[in-house]
Amino acid sequence: MSEILLDARQLEKSYGRITVLRGVSLTIGEGESHVVIGPNGAGKTTLFKVLTGELLADQGQVHFRGEDISALPAHQRVQRGFGRTFQVARVFGKLTVQDNLHVALEAHARSPRAGTGMRISERLQALLSDIGLSAHRNAVAGSLAYGDRKRLEMAMVLALEPVALFLDEPTAGMSTAERHATVQLLRHIKKTRGLSLLMTEHDMDVVFGLADRISVLHYGQLIASGSPEAIRNDQRVKDIYLGDGDAHA
C-alpha cells in the first residue's frame, strides 16, 4: 500500500440550493480497500458519482495516478482503469451472457490500455470459467438469477482489467450467506489482481470484513477517515451512529 492511486480534494457538489458535498477529500492507495459509510442522505452516492465521472463536481479536483481527471467524462475514466458496478446489477438484459462479456472485452480492446496478449475468444473463455458461468454462456442475461447477474456484471468489469473498482453497495439486498460469499469473492479479486477497491456500504460486518480504511460521511462532510480500529473508537462517529437525536435526520 505504497502509492496513492486516487486523490480527491475539496469536492463540492450542489443540486440547486442543496449542498450535498462540502469540501470532501479522500485518498485511496494502491491495493487498498476503502469503504465509505454514512447515514442515508449523507452524500455517499453523490460522492461516488463525482469520483466515477457520472457527475462533475462544482469545485475540487480528482487526481488518478497523478493525472487530473476532474473534467473527464466517465468513459475516459474507465479507459484509464476504473471499473464500476451498480447497486442493482446492470447488464445487457437482451443479450446472452457471452455477448455481454464480448462487449466488455471489445470495449477494452479499443481502449488505450489494451494489451496484446490473448485473443478475445480466449479471454472470454477464461472469464466465463473464472466466475463460474460457463454453463450459462448462451443464457439471456435478463433471465439469470440475481446472484448470477451480479457475477456477470463483475466479470464484465473485470474484463476491462481495472486498476480501481468502484462498488456501489455490493451486498445490497443479499442474504447473510450471499453477503459472506461476496466478501470472500471481493477479497479474492483484490488479492489476485492487486486492485484497489472503493465502495459504499451499510452492512457493518461487510465493512469491517473488507476495509483497510474507512471514511465516514455525514451531511456531505467527511468527519472521520482512518483504519477500522480508529473509526470504531472515534467519538464523533459513535455519536452519529449510536447517540444523539439528529443522527438519522
Binding site: V78, L95, V103, N138
Partner: protein
C-alpha cells in the same frame, strides 16, 4: 462463438449475404417481367429499403430516434440533381458528393443536437432542423424554390475511359440495384461489426456502456453521420430515377416513411425495414385509387404494430417459428 443475440452476429453472416444476392438477382429479373410503371415503383422500393435501413441503423441498432431523416434524403437528391444537371457530372462522382453532403450535414447537426439533447427533445429537435432545411430549400432560387428541379438527366456511368449511357432502357434500374446492394451490404457490415455491437449495447443501457469505457456520445455522433451519408446516397438515386426533385422530399412526412417501413417490418431485425418497404409499397400501390385510403391503412397498420405487435412482421414470424421449434431454451438469433 456459439449463439449470440446481437443483430448481425457472425453465424448468420453467410445467410445474410446469400439473402442479399438473392434479392439482387430477383431485382435484376424484374425489368423483364413488369411494365414501366411497376419498374419505377420497384426501383423506388430499393431506394426506400436503403432509406429504412439507414433509419434503423439509428433507431433499432443505436436507439437514436430521428424524426428528420428526410433532410439528408433531400440533401442527397438535390446534390445529385445539381451536379448531374448543372455540372454534367457522371454517376459515381455525383453519388459520392451526395453522400458526402449528407454526411457533413449530419455531422454538423449531430454535433449540435446530440451534445445537448436527450430523448424526446432530441427527436423533436431533429424535426425542427429538418423543417429548417425544408424551408431553406423551398426558398432558394437556384434550387428551383417550390417547383424544385426537373428534367433531370440519367447520367452516364464512367469508369476511366469506359462509359455507359444510363438513359437507355432499364439501365438505370440495374444501376439502382447495384448501388442499393452495395449500401445494404455496407449497413449490414457496420451492424455486425464491433462498432455495431457497441451501438446495440448503447441502445440497451447507455450508462452501462459508458461505464465499460464505450464513448457513448461519440459513437452516437458517428452513427448519425454515417446514417446521414447513406440516406443521402439513397436520395441521390431518386434524382435521376424520378427525374425531378422538389422540396417535398424534405417535408417531415417523408421523414416518417422510414419509420413506417422499420416498425412494420420489425426494428429488432436487420431486414425489418426492407420487408416493411416492400409491404408498404404494395399497400400504397393497392390503395392508390382511393384518395386518403393509403394514409388511413398505413396509420392503422402502424397503430396495430405499436399496440399489439411490437416486433413488427418479423417479430410475429419469429414468435411463430419459435413456437414450432422444439428448442426453446435459448432465444434463436435472428438474421
Amino acid at each position: 462463438m456459439h449463439a449470440s443475440l446481437f443483430v448481425g452476429s457472425h453465424l448468420r453472416r453467410d445467410l445474410a449475404i446469400l439473402l442479399t444476392l438473392a434479392l439482387a438477382l430477383a431485382g435484376l429479373l424484374v425489368p423483364h417481367l413488369l411494365n414501366r410503371g411497376l419498374i419505377f415503383i420497384v426501383g423506388m422500393v430499393w431506394i426506400n429499403a436503403v432509406f429504412g435501413l439507414s433509419f434503423n441503423l439509428l433507431f433499432g441498432t443505436s436507439g437514436v430516434l430521428s424524426f428528420g431523416q428526410a433532410m439528408f434524403y433531400a440533401a442527397g437528391a438535390y446534390a445529385a440533381a445539381v451536379f448531374t444537371q448543372q455540372l454534367g457530372w457522371p454517376l459515381l462522382p455525383s453519388l459520392l458528393i451526395a453522400a458526402v453532403t449528407g454526411g457533413v450535414l449530419a455531422m454538423c447537426i449531430g454535433f449540435v443536437a446530440l451534445r445537448r439533447s436527450e430523448g424526446v427533445y432530441f427527436s423533436i429537435l431533429t424535426l425542427a432542423f429538418a423543417e429548417l432545411v425544408h424551408l431553406l430549400v423551398a426558398n432558394t432560387s437556384f434550387l428551383g424554390k417550390n417547383d424544385g428541379l426537373s428534367a433531370l438527366p440519367r447520367p452516364r456511368l464512367s469508369v476511366g475511359a469506359w462509359e455507359l449511357d444510363l438513359s437507355q432502357g432499364d439501365m438505370f434500374y440495374y444501376c439502382i440495384v447495384v448501388v442499393s446492394v452495395v449500401l445494404i451490404a455496407l449497413l449490414r457490415w457496420v451492424t455486425g461489426s464491433g462498432f455495431g455491437r457497441a451501438l446495440q449495447a448503447i441502445r440497451q443501457d447507455p450508462e452501462r456502456a459508458e461505464f465499460l469505457g464505450i464513448p457513448v456520445q461519440r459513437y452516437r455522433w458517428m452513427v448519425f453521420t454515417l446514417a446521414g451519408a447513406t440516406t443521402a446516397a439513397a436520395g441521390s438515386l431518386v434524382a435521376p430515377w424520378a427525374q425531378i426533385v422538389t422540396p417535398e422530399l424534405a417535408h417531415w412526412s417523408n421523414s416518417t416513411n422510414p419509420i413506417l417501413y422499420t416498425l412494420l417490418g420489425g426494428s429488432a431485425y436487420f431486414w425489418g425495414p426492407v420487408l416493411g418497404a416492400v409491404t408498404l409499397s404494395a399497400v400504397f400501390y393497392a390503395t392508390r385509387t382511393l384518395v386518403g385510403l393509403s394514409d388511413l391503412v398505413t396509420g392503422m397498420l402502424l397503430l396495430l404494430v405499436v399496440l399489439a405487435l411490437p416486433g413488427g412482421m418479423l417479430g410475429v414470424l419469429s414468435r411463430w417459428t419459435r413456437r414450432d421449434s422444439p428448442r426453446n431454451e435459448t432465444q434463436e438469433p435472428k438474421p
